[in-house]
């Protein structure tokens, strides 16, 4: 027992110098960004703007959670942006054809999961590398979305369709003296709540369940995992299906916010999701990554975009900045590992 006690204390110290270190430096970066932007523009640090950032980050956060699981297995999912579009369009078409909103949305999530499952099959059974397999799916899903809609957005989907993307919990509205409603507290946007719920579930799966342990093991040493009796194919199928399902979910959130199904949405979103995971400490070599890290990474990107926007910086410059942040984050991580 004494041994265990000591070992655990040792472990605590070690962990702080490893994964937690990266998370801590990412968190510090996030805080510094917030402070700098707050000095630049007083409106940045308002409740309203905070909620806006939450809302804007929810889509890339959801994509990032799925991406993190896939990256931990040592893979990559380039298809999430296109799958997002396909799932959103499928949902929109279903609503348009008269299906109630909730089953239509479930169908959208299922569409995403099916795309992910297909990715998993191509990767495990056909032994195609994840990069190529999901690149194929990126084209396939986008093609389907455009073909099904004739590349035209589906609009006027009704109020119920917009609730998920535009609604909020605890919204407080007063009747103003002038007869118009006045928003006292805009409420917590549903997409943000969804993000938190999904993140908690994903972290639970990764850290407390066997499937999570196996996801890390497969990414760490696939052959060792196989020899230890881990069902490697099943583990990967689950990871890619979850990534697809979350892409579907974020598609619905995004289209609901626009109250329009846009087959052109989500182009290059996969890169934001990968960037969020990598800034948060995930390694493309597999075996390393965490949901909390990816959330911090997602918010770093979200805050950067929002703050630079408010500062009137063009979206081109924003891309340049985020590009450097990705390289910087990985570089810092490597310096730390080389020691």
């Amino acid at each position: 027992m004494a041994h265990i006690e000591k070992a655990q204390v040792g472990a605590l110290r070690f962990n702080i110098s490893a994964g937690t270190f990266h998370k801590f430096s990412a968190l510090l970066t996030l805080v510094i960004l917030v402070v700098v932007f707050s000095f630049g523009n007083a409106a940045f640090l308002s409740v309203n703007n905070g909620l806006t950032i939450l809302l804007q980050t929810s889509v890339i956060g959801l994509l990032g959670i799925g991406m993190t699981m896939v990256i931990i297995t040592g893979g990559i999912d380039l298809s999430v942006g296109s799958v997002l579009a396909l799932s959103g369009t499928v949902t929109g078409m279903m609503v348009k054809s008269g299906l109630p909103v909730v089953p239509a949305m479930l169908l959208g999530v299922l569409t995403g999961a099916a795309c992910g499952l297909f990715n998993g099959f191509v990767i495990t059974k056909m032994r195609i590398t994840p990069f190529v397999a999901t690149l194929g799916m990126m084209l396939i899903a986008r093609g389907f979305a455009l073909q099904l809609t004739g590349a035209a957005p589906i609009s006027r989907l009704g109020d119920a369709f917009g609730v998920l993307g535009n609604g909020a919990l605890f919204r407080i509205v007063e009747q103003g003296n002038n007869g118009f409603p006045r928003v006292v507290f805009p409420g917590i946007p549903y997409p943000a709540i969804l993000l938190v719920v999904v993140a908690v579930i994903a972290a639970y799966l990764l850290n407390r369940r066997q499937i999570g342990r196996h996801i890390y093991a497969v990414g760490s040493n696939e052959e060792a995992a196989r020899l230890a009796g881990v069902e490697v194919h099943r583990t990967k199928l689950i990871a890619y299906s979850l990534s697809g399902a979350l892409a579907g979910l974020s598609g619905i959130v995004l289209m609901s916010r626009l109250i329009t199904a846009q087959p052109n949405e989500g182009v290059m979103y996969e890169l934001d999701a990968i960037a969020a995971a990598v800034i948060g400490g995930a390694s493309l070599m597999g075996g390393v990554g965490s949901i909390s890290g990816t959330m911090i990474g997602g918010f770093i990107i979200g805050v950067l975009r929002n703050g630079l926007n408010m500062g009137g910086v063009s979206s081109f410059i924003q891309q340049i900045v985020i590009g450097f942040v990705v390289i910087g984050a990985v570089y810092i991580d490597q310096i730390r590992n080389r020691r």
Partner: protein, 262 residues
Amino acid sequence: MATASQTNTPLVEMIDIEKHFGGVRAVNGVSLDLFPGEVVGVLGHNGAGKSCLMRILSGAMIPNEGRIKVGGEDKTIHTPHDARDCGIETIYQSLALADHLDAPANLFLGRELKTRFGNLDEKRMMEEAAKVLHRLNPNFKNLSDPVSSLSGGQRQVIAIARAIYFNVKILIMDEPTAALGPSETAMVGELIRHLSSEGIGILLVSHDMHDVFELCDRIMVMNKGHMVGAHPIDEVSKDDVLSLIIKGGLPDGWTPRNKQLN
């Protein structure tokens, strides 16, 4: 140590096993048996096919031809899981550990202990791992470190612990002492004696003549994919074994060592 003919049913029989990779015949019609409590040395030069034969028995590799019997019954061993169900545990030459996970996670990989709610029971896995690891090496610390940060010897201890923790009947050790210092090697020798005294059958792949003569009841020698000799250890001398390994045959005019001079 036990004598070969303690019981009549072998723990395991491999019959006419073939394995080829394209034109390379790694294992060529090899048969092997192992009795309870017996330690059989599997010898041969580099590339002779020892690891392939062992991996076939562990379910890590599927043979092109041949049968495997466990406890007298035909068994299909196509996955590591199948092998474990037969009580076959393996310490692989490459150790096969997941580098980013800690010792308990590696020890229980694929057979994780769970709580009533199906969550990972980290506490119990840590305690059990500490017990078995400390039995093998009382100084084993760093239980929560990723195993990539451990020494070769410590990693070897984890691989051994993983093989003996569960209900093992047939233990395959592919060069288990390759990364170990003298005291750890002695410890593994002790362990082999202890396990065989409990009736566990052990296949020991080794290049170390000293270990082989110290620990084994019988040897089987492979050469270019063929089994070229199977002898009780007291029948052969070191020179005989070297001749089998290098030339693929016994020296001219060989007579069993224990029957010489009388």
